[in-house]
């Protein structure tokens, strides 16, 4: 749904860095998207193909890495991974503590680009 506006942001950042590095063509774009984000990768590629037409990023392939949801328990310092399809329980499996800190899972950044 709002993949279109985030794709615009991705394209702007990519073109900015491509220009700084005097690129002729952008080949691939590495993205890291946390699993707690509800953005859909295929939609982003689809919108990117459309928005990048006529730019040096036209035809670039998006390589999306989904980062896992990881919590650290504030009480026993145990770190644990959660898969949303398995559970909606964010309490510590070791000590059953409820005070937990999210350390991974909400990221949304451009890791790198390959250019020529």
């Amino acid at each position: 749904m709002h993949e279109l506006s985030v794709t615009e942001s991705i394209l702007n950042i990519v073109l900015k860095h491509a220009q700084t590095n005097k690129a002729e063509k952008v080949l691939t774009i590495g993205l890291k998207i946390g699993e707690l984000s509800e953005l859909v990768g295929e939609c982003i590629q689809h919108y990117f193909d459309y928005l990048s037409k006529g730019t040096i990023a036209e035809g670039a392939k998006l390589d999306i890495e989904r980062s896992p949801i990881i919590f650290r328990c504030n009480e026993c310092q145990n770190t644990f991974q959660v898969s949303l399809s398995d559970t909606k329980d964010f309490t510590c499996p070791q000590c059953h503590g409820v005070k937990v800190t999210l350390t991974s899972g909400r990221e949304f950044y451009i890791k790198d680009i390959t250019i020529s």
Binding site: M1, E24, L84, K88, F90, D112, T114
Partner: protein, 226 residues
């Protein structure tokens, strides 16, 4: 063949929005204004809660409202009838409010003469959770007829909110809704969240809600002064 180079970027895609949201918070702090972002499904009771809040609190706090809808000015008109200023944002299809839209609305408001701004976000349990509006606190409404399984379906929304208002408690007994099950599901996602049960229709629980909100405003004012 041209050289292929790997360029490391590590740039946050939503950093523009986050930076602007932080700027908004800074501006509100300078003007000693507290802003609340209110989210819910369509029909959950956002406008009703805002109306109830305005009626209870407008004698103690100077209130302004930012209304976000895809179309129509219906909600802003409803709020203005209660005697407080409202800015209507019409997004024309955009499914959430972001910091740039809130900034546009704030530019139309007289911050010097306001203590509390309530944002009525677009009716949607998905997208608004992802976009920082520059608000000080996040609130969501879940209404009893929607069911107690919503934390399982929309974990991000429940996990980012400071307060959950369970509205339409006058439907308890008619709707298939177990309050204890709901609370257990919500606390597993977000142990620090405050849960307040209300009925905007009967007025039950509204005092608890306005007391929470007043406390938050006062905490914010004290920290803005220091």
């Amino acid at each position: 063949m041209a050289d292929i180079r790997l360029i490391e970027i590590k740039e946050d895609i939503l950093s523009d929005n986050k930076d602007l949201a932080d700027e908004i918070r800074g501006n509100l702090k300078r003007h000693k204004v507290f802003m609340l972002n209110l989210m819910a499904s369509p029909g959950g009771g956002k406008t009703s809660l805002i109306v109830n809040t305005v009626r209870s609190m407008k004698d103690k706090f100077r209130i302004g409202v930012i209304e976000g809808d895809i179309d129509s000015v219906v909600d802003a008109e409803t709020v203005v009838k209660e005697g407080v200023p409202a800015v209507q944002l019409k997004t024309g299809g955009f499914c959430h409010l972001d910091a740039s839209m809130i900034k546009m609305a704030l530019d139309e408001m007289d911050l010097i003469n306001l203590d509390l701004i309530m944002i009525e976000n677009i009716g949607n349990l998905v997208c608004p959770a992802e976009f920082d509006t520059g608000a000080n606190k996040q609130a969501m409404i879940l209404s009893v007829p929607e069911g107690d399984d919503k934390p399982l379906k929309y974990p991000l929304m429940f996990s980012i909110c400071d307060v959950l208002i369970v509205n339409k408690i006058d439907y308890m007994g008619i709707a298939d809704f177990d309050m204890d099950v709901l609370k257990e599901r919500v606390f597993k996602l977000n142990p620090k969240i405050k849960i307040i049960e209300v009925s905007c229709k009967t007025g039950e629980g509204i005092v608890t809600w306005t007391r929470w909100l007043a406390d938050e405003i006062n905490i914010c004012m004290r920290s803005a002064k220091s």
